[in-house]
């Protein structure tokens, strides 16, 4: 088994602090043109007429692209989602781009975009809320284990309630952007994407180009959070403009356009019933989950992936449905379905524990999961009980009084302590990596992966520096670039587990190759020095790493830029990461402000590869949990459609002043089956359950049970 890793600084910390890290829109190129999208100002309908004359008269505007500048949608590819639409005359949602204005300056592009006023044929009706006429409900296959109906019937204590999570937008600080360069029949795209491969595939298909003609580069991402996992609509628009004009073109979307065009977390509804037997153990769950969906959207309502893995409840019946309305497509947003499902379920568990008169930590510890009840496999590792026990110890949980509303400060402030758990699936993909050590002191590692601030470079560096005698300051980690290695989407907390085992294999292979090269000679110094001594400029190895259950077919899929995932249900086991959050809230006696002075979060992500960035990931997840529980919601006025609060002033995320102490801990025990390093995912599990712990803490403070996020001041007045 691997030993614990040391706490090293973030690999790119210095670059980032110095402002030297280069993000998608930072790429400078001579002769650049600037683009701006024109957003549709109706919620549904069709463009009857669009004149570009006024825009073309703006000095500096060189071209306006409209739907007629684009090829029809490409033929369907089996097994792959269609690439995003380009410009169309049909308007499916407010804010959809209807034209792209390209100009010599950004100012001219904006002025040109403002000059375009299409004439629309407005649809007679549209549906912008899930409870309005015109919503189409579409159920998906239920997820079941055992016989939930029968078990529920014999339950002695039951709890049933509805829980709601609102629409939310990711809002990474870095805007969505695309820079496209068309030169000598070659298209190069600079874009902060979590999937340079998806972006490449979509542009290729939309533009009818070959794989050899397209390169996508995404070296640093200013926050991904799932918003950048799929191909973006704007990429093909900008690429088309660059190809038509023969000059490089850049588009940076304004924040309001991102709200209206990027994916978002859809509103979702949870009806949960839990039954416990006479011994106070949970024996049955019935869980119906519905989510807001666009007319054509594909984001699956997978609300039953994490909850069944928490407590080993043998009888489970989960349904799910899409509620299709007129909006842009929702999508993956950090801890996509497990964040709201763990909020809902862990609130319900808290309510049931209270009904049974049992401490909520003790109640959870009665239910240690060892198997995946849905697939019947053993869990490769599950240290949730250890997370709960360690969290309770650090938090001082034994000093908690069970009765809600029983802990107050001298000024009347109500104090509440809440706990909740979370889980997130452990998936992985293959990786074809190249490692080269040079005599000049440099090292280069190229692989599939994207750095969105989560610290994937830091995890790779940890393994390479552990296994190779190299100069870490001259280590280049080339990822997020379709020209350096076959790329795969980095999302779903599978990045680290899909790259560090490959890095370890490559390091081992290189050490073997070095030993062969030296053929028994004792040469002093690190690998660079040894190569110099034997007069070899460099030594390079390539490794084709596959995850558990994977083989040549998956490598072929990876080479083609496809999705080659396996897990969390593998052929003989199931893998999930776990976390337990302990939250203290203070509720003011008068104005009822809710403050969160401290959180303790203990995670089981297998072996921690990079303690520094791992802690940062959990802290970020907790802060987002606080934001989701207390602040974030994107609002729709059903008379107009679109999003009303579409900037960072009015879409309220927490600020530093809202965050207290966050104590992060790890079980740090390797998973024995998932990969050679024992590393499971972390980024998403960090957030799961946090909102539930806040809801439970508010109930403990006030006796009031809040079941619809966000919990605002008016809910407690």
């Amino acid at each position: 088994m691997t030993a614990p890793f040391p706490n090293r600084p973030r690999a790119d910390a210095r670059e980032k602090v110095m402002g030297a890290a280069r993000y998608g829109a930072d790429h400078q190129v001579a002769g650049l043109l600037y683009a701006m999208q024109v957003p549709a100002t109706i919620a549904k309908g069709r463009i009857a007429a669009l004149s570009i004359d006024a825009a073309m008269q703006v000095p500096g505007v060189v071209r306006v692209l409209t739907s007629s500048d684009f090829l029809p949608p490409p033929p369907a590819t089996p097994g792959a989602p269609p690439p995003p639409a380009t410009l169309t005359t049909d308007i499916a949602y407010r804010g959809q781009p209807v034209a792209l204005v390209v100009a010599e300056t950004l100012e001219a592009a904006i002025e040109g975009a403002e000059a375009i006023r299409p004439i629309y044929t407005v649809a007679p009706a549209f549906t912008s809320l899930i409870d309005q006429p015109g919503m189409v409900r579409e159920a998906v296959k239920p997820v079941t284990a055992g016989d939930a109906m029968r078990a529920m019937a014999r339950a002695v204590t039951r709890h049933k309630a509805d829980y709601v999570s609102p629409p939310q937008h990711h809002n990474p600080i870095e805007m969505l952007s695309t820079t496209a360069i068309w030169e000598n029949g070659q298209l190069t795209i600079y874009e902060s994407t979590q999937s340079s491969s998806n972006t490449k595939g979509a542009v290729m298909r939309n533009m009818r180009l070959t794989p050899e003609q397209v390169t996508v580069k995404s070296p640093q991402i200013g926050g991904g959070f799932g918003q950048r996992g799929g191909a973006q609509r704007q990429t093909a628009l900008v690429a088309r403009a660059a190809m038509l004009l023969g000059r490089p073109v850049k588009l940076v979307l304004p924040r309001g356009q991102i709200f209206h065009n990027a994916t978002f977390r859809p509103k979702n509804l949870h009806r949960i019933e839990i039954g416990a037997d006479a011994s106070g153990k949970m024996i049955a769950v019935r869980y119906d989950a519905d989510q807001q969906q666009s007319r054509e959207g594909q984001f699956p309502p997978d609300y039953h992936e994490s909850v069944p893995m928490l407590y080993g409840i043998e009888n489970y019946h989960g349904t799910a449905a899409n509620l299709r309305i007129d909006t842009q497509a929702p999508g993956y947003m950090r801890s996509p379905t497990p964040h709201p499902s763990c909020f809902a379920f862990e609130s319900a568990v808290d309510e049931l524990a209270l009904k049974l008169g049992v401490d909520p930590v003790a109640f959870r510890l009665r239910h240690r999961a060892t198997t995946d009840p849905i697939h019947g496999h053993k869990l490769s590792s599950c240290y949730l009980s250890e997370c709960l026990t360690e969290g309770a110890r650090r938090f001082g949980w034994e000093r908690r009084s069970l009765q809600p509303g029983s802990m107050t400060l001298p000024d009347g402030t109500q104090v509440g302590w809440g706990v909740a758990s979370g889980a997130y699936p452990g998936s992985a993909h293959p990786n074809i990596v190249t490692l080269r050590v040079n005599a000049d002191g440099t090292t280069r590692f190229a692989a599939a992966g994207h750095e969105m601030g989560q610290g994937i470079r830091s995890t790779i560096e940890q393994v390479l520096v552990r296994d190779l005698a190299i100069d870490p300051l001259k280590l280049e980690i080339a990822i997020g670039d379709t020209s350096v290695a076959p790329q795969h989407t980095t999302a779903g907390s599978w990045g680290t587990a899909s790259v560090v085992p490959a890095a370890a294999e490559a390091a081992a292979k290189l050490n073997t190759a070095m030993a062969e090269l030296l053929a028994g000679r004792q040469v002093a110094g690190n690998l660079h020095r040894q190569l110099a001594t034997v007069r070899r400029p460099s030594l390079q190895v390539e490794v084709e790493h596959v995850a558990v259950d994977q083989g040549p077919k998956d490598l072929a899929t990876l080479r083609k830029g496809g999705t080659a995932l396996v897990g969390p249900d593998y052929s003989t086991f199931t893998t999930y990461s776990y976390i337990a959050h302990f939250v203290e809230v203070h509720v003011e006696p008068g104005t009822r402000r809710v403050r969160v002075p401290r959180v303790v979060s203990i995670a089981d992500c297998g072996r921690v590869i990079s303690p520094r960035t791992a802690e940062s990931q959990v802290r970020g997840g907790v802060i987002w949990g606080i934001g989701a529980a207390l602040r974030e919601a994107t609002e729709v006025d059903p008379r107009y459609g679109g999003w009303l609060n579409n900037d960072l002033a009015d879409y309220v995320v927490p600020v530093n002043a809202d965050i207290g102490s966050i104590d992060v801990g790890f079980i740090d025990r390797p998973d024995p089956l998932i990969n050679a390093l024992g590393a499971k995912g972390l980024g998403e599990v960090a957030m799961t359950g946090c909102a539930g712990a806040i809801a439970n803490a508010i109930h403990h403070a006030t006796g009031k049970r809040l079941r619809e996020m966000p919990f605002r001041i008016e809910d407690l007045l």
Partner: protein, 339 residues
Amino acid sequence: MRPFTYARPESAAAAVRAFMAAGAGAHYIAGGTSLYDLMKLDIEKPQHLIDVTTIRGLDAIETNGERLRFEALAPMSAVATDKVVLRDYPILAEALWKAASQQLRNMATVGGNLLQRTRCLYFRNGAGGTSVGNTYPCNKREPGSGCAAIGGLDRGQAVLGQSSSCTAVSPGDWPVALVALDAYVEVLGAGGSRAIPIAELYRLPGSTPNLEFTLQPGEMITAIVVPKTKAGRHSTYHKIRDRESYAFALASAAVALDMDGDTVTRARIGLGGVATKPWRATAAEALLAGKPLTPATALAAGHAAFADAKAGQHNGFKIELGARTVADALTIAAARNRS
């Protein structure tokens, strides 16, 4: 993004001359923290910008005389950290530092802040600019077009002073504190200079919500004058919002008290976040005069402040929240400088 001319006069008188000469579409600009934002949203469309930031001697902070006098171009951050203001007028310091962010406070001026426009979502997001595809009717932005906030998502809207044309909240914190302290502004215009009591600087929306201020065309605020009062030491600006920084008030209360022991001899109470203009809660002030400040009298004063409030669909909570904010502010103010 629309073309405009730009002038940078060197005196206040020259600025007024430039404004009058430019005619329609002229607009003064100081820190730019509000105007540029509104220009990007396609709400403000100035044709002539008259930049007043290089006028010399218009940023003085005078706190030693009979009055506090803040010249219009003093940055919010400078007034918020003035020693006398910090010591004797927490109501003013807190109103400034609880507004915006440090970066904005460094740029924004105390004069320009008085003219900040509403944060009503339908006002801001409905002009159809390129940043958003939304087009909402708004009587403030386009007179006669209607009000989308009435019958819409009105959680942030006013419960005091609204009309059937407009429910937009006056967004400021600083003007609320100044209203409580009976400040006045000095203005310079084509017809010379005059003083305007701060409460009279603002109009109720009535049927003309597009008219927000009583300034005449070309009139420029040159200074803010606050009569000194011992009540400043028993004062606070208490602001309740959706997050603890970088957010506008859901409800706020500016309170300054003249105290005789535990008895309030005179209360000054301003309300923010709840009204269509910086609001003076005179009924609450009258209720407290001559009474000891207790939790009960404080809450009664809070409720008196909102006796005339009217709720929309989603903002009814502001009435109770506002009352409790006043009560908490009174308690905080009374506890200060008890010596």
